[in-house]
């Protein structure tokens, strides 16, 4: 009854027509996991929504959401549980449609085996390749090629062999350690849980037998010790323990461990559990460690084997699967979670996209939802990381949108980039403070944002004249002017706009280091990028000025004739027409140029500057 049994987590991939749900339904049914009342409800549902006529439609068992039953497709991952006398199983039933690739990846991220279903009557389709590619990328090493509906091709051994050959040619370039092909009929039950009488030419195991026997070695015991600290346990002054789960390797009392980020070492004193202290803890065990020395350790720190430490880096290369509704933009900041640690990260460059159907590299400037690409990322602080291929627990990360908090990407680290440790910042004796003192002023960045034609440059020009007359040292950066030189290579796509603002910000920062007050006039339509600027130069030195005029007024003014061109369809992505403008929620200064004159607006800015201690 409670025999020693191990767990196998696997996923099934295939579209509705391949018989995926029928296969899972049959596995569950034959393992006695579908109760009579569930079966009764299922046959009631089948008559209402089913697609199988008088037969029970097992898809309805798994497609648990109303939307799924109404549309007859699988949208989200469903988890099902069953056990035989030899093993217990968690199966993630994942959607096959390309638009739900991200949900398939979710199922694959925790699985160690994948069943790819192929309809024998149709042969190998592009989607089977896509599923295989994603499984390989997510680190699944064991594959079952379930060639289903053998009954439709009269259990023909030659056609079966042809499908297998084609697949094996394709799968050669993927990272599977084993690919096991099984001919079956989920509907009729051939080779699902027991050998088929219809295919005497097949001598391999049935599907269930294979699942029971395969050794997946997913426990990570052989890898170096890794222990992300989840919770610092301090119930009283006498106890300080670090609670977490050993994600790989093992640890013994008396053993040396290292805090990856600081490099500090200590010895493990006790391995505490509610069932008594342990002498040793292995991968998968949730324990609390106490150390012989008080060293600085917080939630998010990674405790590791000192002889096999991970990389600690703020720059790395990773495969990214984009999941957000908004496209990925290089240069934009996201929240990054890696094991128990959170920080901020930015995609510094997208090296290339990956065609999900073929695995080929493709040129790309952004990633849309369900796109794959190889990216370089940089993080705000160094993080401890392993290659995903060597350690799934420490080599994986997610990106989260800073404003909506949606999970927008899954990332798998390829390797750390060495640049972080090789480029050292030059320290000069004459610093920003010294220059600011010499100039007798506090450097500031006055950032004018607003629609084209709202009056940004006009007002900035007036403000600069007043500052100059008052003896202040200042410089104007203008979007149009920068685009003639520094940003000549950039267009007006969302990705290029982000890069344009990043460059402007970096230039402004250098000028502020030189002691100047910088006036910058850029449409800068995206809230996230202005937030990035605020953080780049420091919130206390960033003055966000919203030059606000109704779009109708701007269209009437149209000083450069751009709205007319945009309306004629000559300029795509024009802010306010084809591309959105996200107004500041709390600008430092809000100018209404529809109602006030440029002079009055400039006076409003100067008054605000005097309040900040700028003599003008």
């Amino acid at each position: 009854m409670s025999a020693q049994r191990d767990l196998l987590r696997f996923i099934t991939c295939g579209s509705v027509d391949d018989g995926k749900s029928t296969l899972i339904g049959r596995l569950l049914h034959e393992c006695g996991l579908i109760f009579d009342d569930t079966l009764a409800a299922l046959s009631r549902d089948s008559r209402r929504h089913g697609t199988t006529g008088a037969d029970i439609d097992f898809a309805l068992l798994l497609d648990g959401l109303e939307a799924e039953r109404q549309q007859g497709i699988t949208i989200d991952v469903a988890y099902r549980y069953f056990a035989t006398s030899r093993r217990s199983f968690i199966v993630a039933d994942t959607p096959g449609h390309e638009q739900y690739t991200r949900n398939m990846a979710t199922g694959a991220s925790t699985a160690s085996l994948a069943i790819i279903l192929i309809d024998a009557s149709k042969g190998l389709l592009p989607q089977s390749k896509r599923h295989s590619l994603i499984c390989s990328l997510l680190g699944i090493r064991h594959l079952v090629l379930a060639v289903n509906k053998m009954d439709l091709i009269s259990f023909d051994a030659d056609r079966y062999a042809a499908i297998i050959d084609t697949y094996k040619d394709f799968a050669e370039k993927l990272n599977f350690t084993d690919v096991t092909a099984i001919p079956l009929s989920a509907r009729m039950g051939d080779n699902v849980t027991s050998a088929s009488g219809n295919m005497a030419w097949y001598h391999g195991p049935s599907l269930l037998q294979h699942l029971e026997e395969i050794d997946v070695q997913s426990d990570g015991t052989g890898q170096p010790f890794r222990f992300p600290v989840q919770w610092v346990n301090r119930p009283d002054a006498n106890f300080r323990g670090y609670a977490g789960t050993v994600v790989s390797g093992h640890v013994k009392t008396g053993q040396n461990i290292r805090v990856a980020s600081s490099g500090r070492n200590a010895k493990v004193q006790r391995i505490v559990t509610a069932d008594g202290d342990l002498a040793e803890a292995n991968a998968g065990q949730a324990v609390t460690l106490t150390l012989d020395e008080e060293i600085d350790i917080a939630r998010g720190d990674l405790l590791v084997a000192p002889e096999a430490p991970p990389e600690v880096s703020d720059q790395f290369a990773a495969d990214i699967l984009w999941m957000g509704a908004e496209p990925m933009l290089p240069g934009r900041d996201y929240l990054l979670r890696i094991s128990q640690d959170w920080t901020q990260a930015r995609v510094t460059s997208l090296r290339h996209g990956i065609d999900v159907n073929t695995g080929d590299h493709v040129a790309a400037r952004t990633l849309q939802m369900n796109d794959l690409g190889l990216c370089h990322l940089s993080t705000l602080k160094p993080v401890a990381l392993d290659k995903y291929s060597e350690n799934r627990a420490i080599g994986a990360f997610i990106l989260v949108d800073r404003f909506t908090h949606e999970t927008v990407a899954a990332g798998m680290i390829r390797h750390a980039l060495r640049r972080a440790s090789n480029i050292h910042r030059a320290d000069f004796t004459i610093d920003r403070t010294a220059r600011a003192e010499r100039n007798g002023q506090r450097p500031l960045l006055l950032w004018f944002t607003g629609l084209s034609g709202s009056g940004k440059s006009t007002i900035a020009n007036l403000v600069e004249q007043a500052l100059f007359t008052a003896g202040r040292h200042c410089y104007s950066l203008d979007g149009d002017n920068l685009r003639h030189g520094l940003c000549r290579d950039l267009g007006f796509t969302a990705a290029d706009r982000v890069e344009n603002i990043r460059r402007a910000g970096e230039v402004a920062k250098l000028m502020m280091d030189a002691g100047l007050i910088v006036l910058a006039s850029f449409i800068s339509p995206f809230r996230a990028d202005r937030q990035m600027l605020r953080e780049l130069v420091g919130a206390e030195d960033f003055v966000e000025i919203h030059v606000d005029a109704p779009i109708e007024t701007c269209i009437t003014r149209d000083p450069k004739g751009l709205y007319a061109k945009a309306k004629a369809g000559l300029i795509p992505n024009f802010t306010g027409l084809g591309s959105p403008y996200e107004p500041p929620e709390n600008p430092d200064i809000h100018l209404h140029t529809g109602d006030s004159s440029a002079e009055a607006c400039a006076a409003q800015v100067l008054a605000a500057l005097r309040q900040r201690g700028i003599a003008c």
Binding site: Q4, L7, F35, D37, D275, G284, I338, A396
Partner: protein, 304 residues
Amino acid sequence: MPVKRRLTPHLARLEAEAIGILREGAAAFRRPVLLYSIGKDSGVLLHLAMKAFFPGKPPFPLLHIDTTWKFKEMIHFRDSIAQQLGLELLVHANQEGLARGINPIASGSALHTQVMKTEALRQALDKYGFDAAFGGARRDEEKSRAKERIFSFRGPGHVWDPRAQRPELWSLFNTRLHQGESMRIFPLSNWTEYDVWDYIAAEDIPVVPLYFAAPRPVVRRAGTWIMLDDERLPLNPGEAPETKMVRFRTLGCYPLSGAVESTAASLAEIIAEMRAARSSEREGRLIDSDSEASMERKKREGYF
């Protein structure tokens, strides 16, 4: 005290996973709470919480949503457990619902559940400002639960939007919230009913005696046995109370909880009976059969 059985590798893995989730919830949220419904799943969850923070205590209180129609034995059990473990227990009943006279008999199960469970839960979460709530729900219970995340995001008003769930990759839970949003956390997501009973037996976890067969006063209703737990259940014409050897597979409001005839009076007998069973545990719950997608609808409204 009986000697504990060593956990099977399977149960040890489930235990470690649940402990990891409990610690994560405690660390990532400002003010978490454990929803304690007194049933076997809650009992397992509470036991795991005691283990997760050992030698400390769980850094969150227990919350019971009291419909005022729970079995007397449940309430007694609840109070003694909280006292034994030395944990803070908050009990909340929807006072407006009581004032309106909402009850499972006259109001019907759907309205009673809506007002006294779903609305009451939302009231309590708002009253105490909890931003995360642990619950003992499992994915094998019901098919919309099978699709739900372990860290299940709730928008303002505690609503669940099944089509906008955050992808949940590896164990990298996205715990980020804005003001007014909250998280429901299900550490037992990957457990089955078998696992729960096996674990209760292996760890010797106390459960409400109603799970064990005993002679109880019952009436036959809607194809199941309803226990006369107090004087409030009116008898329909022709109904006569009988005494039957019965037990409960799930516990809730007594007029809505169906008992099964059984002689299983020990854990071993319960487990043996369950393995031979041909119907799922929720069969005895009258609230699930209202409509095909009733659980999904209730969850969207904020039900656990």
